[in-house]
């Protein structure tokens, strides 16, 4: 493959800000990451760490008071510089997005078939019956029972898990090159969570779709992703393969995050681990390391912003820790 050297999506120096009445909110600061065709990347972090907004800006879905600087090169073209109509040629067909809440992501007044066919007809130029057939196939792939019948129903006649599967099916309808899934399993039962991640995995293998998974659930990540990007206060603090992050986390924030995952094999009497304090306000970010105030290992050097450090195995982290420890 000729394009093997060029990543499918490369985000460079992305900054996302929002103008609010109280001042400028810096939601994403100097974010860099890339993903290759067929790869899976998880972006994890607390609420408000900028993980959703960074990808919303890539999709051109920022709120009216938001603005993004930097580059998001998708197949050689910068998505951030495109007009809405240009972007509409890529959205849905080449890049699809699955949203967090299955209960509100479907229009309650339209049958499932209308909502699904709309996308296929628009992007693939299929006629109505072909589009419907395709949609039924996709519903079958996500294991909706009796898809020929269920496709004529309305969203309120589906359970939450089924709706999310419909959302996944809609995301994959046009066999996109890149699927962005914003906490696709957060609102679901654990059993359904597993089904959905199996499903996304299977479909990825089938159509070589790259997946970016936004989540705060480290359990889901382990089953689905190759690489993990950890974000804190709008910055990337660590990035590496699943093994590197899980067994050899360098950044104290990542370590804290992993330690905070509740585990079934721990006694209920044992106190749960939590990272003390709160993330800094995105209005007035502190100088130096953003995690300094909550970091158990902070020291004088942390007053300066640490540079990203990279080892041979593509494991990167933004911390001075190594020199002082």
């Amino acid at each position: 493959m000729k394009e093997a050297l060029m990543p499918l999506l490369e985000v460079k120096d992305l900054n996302v800000g929002f103008n609010t009445a109280e001042g400028e909110v810096h939601a994403v600061n100097n974010l860099n990451f890339s993903i290759n065709a067929g790869d899976t990347l998880a972006i994890v972090g607390e609420s408000g760490s900028g993980k959703t907004q960074s990808l919303m800006s890539v999709m051109g879905l920022l709120a009216e008071n938001g603005h993004a600087e930097g580059q998001a090169i998708f197949k050689g073209k910068d998505l951030l510089k495109m007009s809405t109509s240009e972007l509409n040629k890529h959205r849905g067909r080449e890049i699809a997005m699955i949203f967090q809440d299955p209960m509100t992501s479907l229009n309650p007044y339209l049958r499932i078939d209308k909502q699904m066919i709309e996308v296929v007809m628009h992007h693939q130029g299929l006629n109505k019956s072909e589009a419907r057939e395709h949609a039924v196939e996709m519903l079958r792939a996500v294991r909706i029972p009796d898809p020929e019948e269920r496709i004529r129903q309305y969203p309120h006649e589906f359970s939450g898990g089924m709706r999310q599967r419909v959302m996944v099916a809609m995301g994959l309808l046009c066999e996109p090159d890149l699927l962005i899934a914003d906490e696709p399993t957060t609102a679901l039962d654990v059993t359904v969570q597993a089904q959905i991640s199996h499903l996304m995995n299977a479909l990825r293998r089938k159509s070589n779709t790259a997946i970016i998974l936004i989540t705060h659930d480290l359990g889901v990540v382990a089953g689905l992703c190759d690489r993990i990007l950890v974000m804190y206060a709008g910055e990337a603090v660590e990035c590496g393969s699943v093994e590197q992050i899980y067994y050899d986390a360098k950044h104290p924030y990542t370590q804290g995050l992993l330690a905070s995952v509740p585990r079934l094999d721990h006694m209920a009497s044992k106190e749960m681990h939590a990272i003390p304090g709160n993330p800094p306000s995105l209005m007035s970010l502190p100088k130096g390391c953003k995690f300094r105030d909550r970091c158990p290992k902070a020291h004088a050097a942390c007053e300066e912003t640490p540079p990203m450090q990279l080892d041979e195995g593509r494991h990167a982290w933004r911390c001075y820790l190594d020199e002082s420890a």
Binding site: L61, R91, A96, T104, L110, Y154, M170
Partner: protein
């Protein structure tokens, strides 16, 4: 799509309930079923239907002309013998015919002015809401300014400049009523714009116009329908008020408001001239309000206790 054979009774409960056909039931159908269970609304709808039929076809069936003056029976009380079942007014005109013909005007004003305010209000509010930003701010300030104009002053001004004409009543009422509609629709559009399914549609590359047509408008309909049924009686009442104070419909045409106004003058000598049109007016207003209430409960079951 043709029905496949597997669709027969998937589970025993469905078979027992007789709903084996899995064809989906839309939120509209659900609302319709809830509406049918609301007795007040259903009864009101029937009465309203009856009044509309009476008003449209009644004058053809009653043997009196509305402008015929029966000099033998002036200010005659209701009686079967004279043929004036609901009596006559001071110049001997049959009250029943006049009331039915007045009802035509009243209902016509109610419906036409509501449609006018619906068309202006929905498009204005939807545009302001979907574009947002500066456009929205300017458009809504215009609404605020028109709101601040005193209604009576506006009507009297129109009458003075253009003379008295029934068309002016439509214009005057429509010009005021679309403001509420625009505000309601704008608010709904704003909250819909951030709904996830709209975002999902945008994320899958659906054009703006298609989003408004397929996603925003159907979700606005419920609110709009309810508001329409509550606007019609409001408009009828407004017209009656204008006619009552003499600014509305002019002789020989009449409306319920004009008849009530006439009747009020002869209240002591011929109370039926006041009672008959008042009863029609009151029943109509009640019915519309009950229907509107029923629709609101049916379309938005979350707000119901």
């Amino acid at each position: 799509m043709t029905k496949t054979t597997e669709s027969v009774a998937i589970d025993p409960f469905e078979a027992a309930l007789g709903v084996s056909d899995v064809k989906g039931r839309s939120p509209w159908e659900d609302a319709w079923h809830r509406l049918l269970k609301n007795r007040a609304a259903v009864v009101s709808a029937f009465i309203m239907g009856f009044i509309i039929l009476l008003v449209v076809f009644g004058p053809m069936l009653v043997s009196w002309e509305s402008d015929f003056t029966d000099w033998d029976h002036t200010s005659a009380p209701p009686s079967l013998q004279s043929g004036h079942w609901f009596g006559t007014d001071a110049v001997g005109r049959d009250i029943l015919v006049r009331t039915l013909e007045g009802g035509r005007i009243s209902l016509l004003v109610g419906v036409v002015a509501t449609i006018v305010s619906l068309l202006i209000g929905v498009s204005y509010g939807a545009i302001a809401g979907s574009f947002g930003g500066v456009t929205d701010r300017i458009m809504m300030r215009v609404v605020d300014i028109i709101y601040a104009l005193p209604f009576m002053f506006f009507v009297i001004l129109l009458m003075v400049v253009f003379g008295r004409h029934i068309l002016l009543i439509f214009i005057a009422i429509g010009a005021i009523n679309w403001l509420d509609m625009a505000r309601i629709v704008r608010g709904q559009t704003l909250s819909l714009k951030n709904a996830e399914f709209i975002e999902a549609a945008r994320a899958s590359g659906v054009r703006d116009w298609d989003i408004i047509r397929r996603h925003i408008i159907p979700n606005l309909l419920g609110v709009v329908i309810v508001y329409v049924t509550l606007t019609i009686p409001q408009v009828i009442l407004m017209e009656s008020f204008l006619s009552f104070i003499g600014l509305g419909v002019q002789e020989p045409m009449s409306s319920w408001g004009a008849l009530v106004s006439d009747g009020a003058q002869d209240m002591e000598s011929a109370p039926w001239t006041l009672i008959v049109p008042s009863v029609f007016l009151a029943i109509t207003l009640y019915c519309f309000n009950f229907i509107g209430d029923g629709l609101r409960d049916a379309l938005d079951p979350k707000d119901r206790l």
